[in-house]
């Protein structure tokens, strides 16, 4: 490892040797399985519960034409989009504060920002039951104050699903916006101010446009993670708040209809994958990797 690079143009095997275990894993555990479910989605599940090998379009026809799937797909995109929007609006404030503050608490604020990543998603999601549930903090407080006499059911609707998702996704958004704000040359805003801009104008004309890559990276992460979840709707949503990944879970784990489950997950992959590809075409996937530095 300590040897220097060969000077000649001879093929160097060493990086490929180092990469081979990781690349083999990605190939065997991700690429080939994904190709496999593409094939699988054209098979049929028979009435006796086995699979009929062949080329049938039935699963795809069902997934693409059934109004039930359209409704849930639309609901999923709406919930993910709203959660992303709230994350962007709410997350910009602390990101801006951490980037521009001169207090010695900056390092602490950044460390605290990383903490939610270490706390399990299921705990962060279920914690809201303690806050909003019938015997939760809000109801107990309101009853103790005599404002209400009976507890109110605040959980199990679309708003609490979005709340849970925002709580889960917010750190991703803040971190990405912060990384991009932190990289802005401060003399640019100073220049804008000295040319007569108000603070707000300097923000709108200089800082905000320059932070768009961070907003976009955070937005992509929030949307893709949000649209692919089934845990939040199961814990914080009601029966009518199912998202697309819940259908996949139902088909695979409950109904054991694996060909249909394959088609459903491929549709989800196609939608979110297109989004990722459009993003990486225009902005480059490197922006997301920046938050790890």
């Amino acid at each position: 490892m300590a040897a220097s690079k060969p000077k000649d143009e001879r093929f160097d095997r060493r990086p490929w040797l180092l990469l081979s275990p990781a690349l083999a894993s990605v190939l065997l555990l991700l690429v080939i399985p994904t190709v496999f479910i593409v094939v699988y989605s054209f098979w049929l599940r028979t009435a006796v519960g086995s699979e009929q090998v062949g080329f049938y379009l039935d699963n795809w026809q069902e997934v693409l034409t059934d109004g039930f799937y359209h409704d849930i797909l639309f609901q999923t995109l709406r919930i993910a989009a709203l959660s992303t929007l709230v994350c962007a609006l709410v997350g910009y404030i602390p990101a801006y504060f951490i980037a521009y503050t001169s207090t010695r608490h900056k390092a602490l604020l950044l460390l605290l920002l990383m903490l939610p990543f270490w706390v399990s998603y299921i705990i962060r999601t279920m914690s809201w039951i303690n806050i909003l549930g019938v015997s939760g903090a809000v109801n107990s407080t309101l009853m103790a104050l005599g404002i209400i006499s009976e507890p109110i059911q605040m959980l199990y609707n679309e708003a609490t699903v979005i709340l849970g998702l925002v709580h889960f996704l917010l750190p991703f958004m803040i971190l990405n916006i912060y990384v991009s704000l932190d990289g802005i040359d401060r003399s640019l805003t100073d220049a804008a101010r000295s040319l007569g801009c108000t603070g707000w104008q300097a923000f709108r004309e200089v800082t905000l446009p320059l932070s768009v890559p961070g907003l976009a990276a955070g937005g992509l992460l929030c949307f893709v993670l949000g649209a692919g979840t089934y845990i939040t709707p199961m814990v914080l949503g009601g029966p009518r708040n199912a998202m697309f990944a819940n259908l996949v879970y139902e088909a695979i784990v409950t109904q054991l209809n694996w060909p249909l489950g394959s088609a459903l997950s491929l549709l989800l992959l196609a939608l979110l994958g297109t989004l990722v590809m459009v993003y990486s075409r225009f902005l480059g996937i490197d922006q997301i990797a920046k938050s790890f530095r």
Partner: protein, 265 residues
Amino acid sequence: MSLAWNAIRLGTILVYIFMFAPVAVVMLLAFNANQFGSFPLEGLSLRWFVALIENDAIVRAFQTSIVLGLLTSVISTTMGVLAALAMVRYDFPGKRLISTALIAPILVPEVVLAVALLLFLRALDVPRSFFLLLMGHVIFTLPFVVLVVQARLVGIRREYEEAAMSLGANAFETFRHVTLPLMLPAVMAGMLFSFTMSFDDITGTLFWKPGGVETVPTQIFAMLRNSISPEINALGTVMVVFTVALPLLGAALARRVAAHLSGAR
């Protein structure tokens, strides 16, 4: 300080409260003596933690999660460190494509990854098993290890190694006294990251786990089906301590070990 800046500061405080208050409430209620484990608080008690230890299912879930997390972190970090070394130290054709391939498991939604892996291994006659669970955890933690380790390896300059060699150290001595101490924080970071991700995962785990086997997150999920009980809050608290305090402790330890190794010359 301007009015606007004060508003931003207040907003920041509110957002941090939003991020941490619910988890703080979980931890607070875990110590609640009230028999329903809900508000109002009626004094402190450790009874819910005692209940955890006496619950065999929970103890088993803990054992499963720890073994799974340790194995995942060893396998995933070994592969991730090797790959990160290749990416940081060498230039080769197709590097951009390889870089995308390495982070591909993050770009695919975890549900899709879970379904694909489950159905593919099932077709190869590998049923839902601990092995499937382990493979799943390795593949979804791998990209994060590569990213985290790569970010830290960039800071290690070749000049240090070249200086050691020019001063007469052989390849092994150079690795032992220069490269290893410099790399150790990156390796530790990769291991902690993958352990925590594996320990916390639920999305893929619910697909991959064999019947009757639970990890701590799936155990919590199963218990939520009934109703929220103080035991869940206690379990959540233990888990938070496990995945938050441990990395912080580990990071501090890694720094000391690294300092010791590089000071041992």
